[in-house]
Symmetry: C2
Subunit: 210 residues, 2 copies
């Protein structure tokens, strides 16, 4: 390895576990983050703990990677910032949330970033389901849950049902490439699956069916 690829103004001298180059420091932070997120989950991992594991200052972690959520995305090599997707969810009216979730997610999966997302999810499913669970429960679904929670219903069962349907679309459309689903245009997928997700979010899900 060439030990120093630092550009002008980016050289940093480190000691004890010396990491002279940016690339090495970044790698150390990402390794530490991946281990923490996999072991403790998203919520219980702090930037401070990751920084300590990587033997760097917490400010440097923020400087390189931004928020904890962005650090997570970088650690699992997620090719898009989940925040962009989540803002669209925040903006959708409650009675359109199902459609917004399906449209938003499938749009990302069908985009040029899609293969990277799919590869990340497949890799995590095969080797680190903890990371998928943590990301889903504590980042994505939590953000949706706060939209639907009421005094009588905290929404946890509802968002886990949403997760089944969204995860299933991802697997069937992008991993298995099941036809005709894999080639079905976005509006048809949204029309078919949006009502399912909306019912899970705000509809009657406890009624016995037989």
């Amino acid at each position: 390895m060439s030990g120093d690829e630092s550009g002008p103004g980016t050289a940093r001298s480190r000691h004890t576990g010396r990491r002279p180059g940016n690339a090495d420091t970044r790698t150390a932070i990402l390794d530490a983050a991946r281990a923490r997120f996999a072991g403790a989950g998203f919520d219980k991992t702090s930037i401070r703990a990751v920084a300590a594991d990587a033997e760097v200052d917490p400010a440097l972690v923020h400087h390189y990677f931004g928020t904890k959520q962005q650090l997570f995305a970088a650690a699992v090599e997620f090719p898009v910032d989940p925040e962009l997707f989540l803002r669209a969810i925040d903006a959708a009216p409650l009675d359109q949330l199902g459609v917004a979730l399906v449209r938003g997610a499938v749009t990302v999966w069908d985009s040029p970033a899609g293969p990277g997302v799919v590869a990340t999810v497949r890799r995590m499913l095969a080797g680190e389901p903890n990371l998928v669970r943590s990301f889903l429960l504590q980042v994505v679904l939590e953000r949706v849950r706060t939209r639907i929670a009421t005094d009588e219903d905290d929404g946890r069962w509802r968002v886990s049902l949403v997760a089944t349907q969204m995860m299933g679309i991802l697997i069937a459309r992008k991993v298995l490439e099941l036809e005709p689903l894999a080639s079905m245009p976005l509006p048809a997928v949204v029309a078919a699956v949006g009502p399912t997700v909306q019912r899970y979010l705000t509809g009657d899900i406890d009624q016995s069916v037989d």
Copy 2:
């Protein structure tokens, strides 16, 4: 490595092409079946072709493994005979098919055979999605499709939607172990998800929702 761990009565003489022992013949048949099913899919794989690849008589394949479907199950190390599940599907009235599918599948996944099913699906998703696709489309979903097909609608889009929901439950409940879904008793899962699957099978799925 110690080259010979054969116990009494298991010694086998091996040479080019000859397969004198049951275990070796079975292994050769399963290897050939796995390669054929992965390459050509379930429909286009014949017992005759598998037998030819394994250099045995087709009757021997039937003798060891039964039907093509049972050979498939053995080749992917599926721990239950899918036929048992599929017969329950055949027996359900059309307006109860959604509930029957969810109840039947989740019952198998929650059973002692469940971990084996989950391990098989995870392995195939990671390495051989062709095998999952082929099994789903040509065995399970085809059997469901013939129940719902009409002159106007061949049911292919409908059963691919069913596949998304069922696959998603499997992944979220048994691989990710997302709570509260993972601990939710079977009747609650059936009550929540049965109507989704029933709508995909026989309901209105083309109506635009916005």
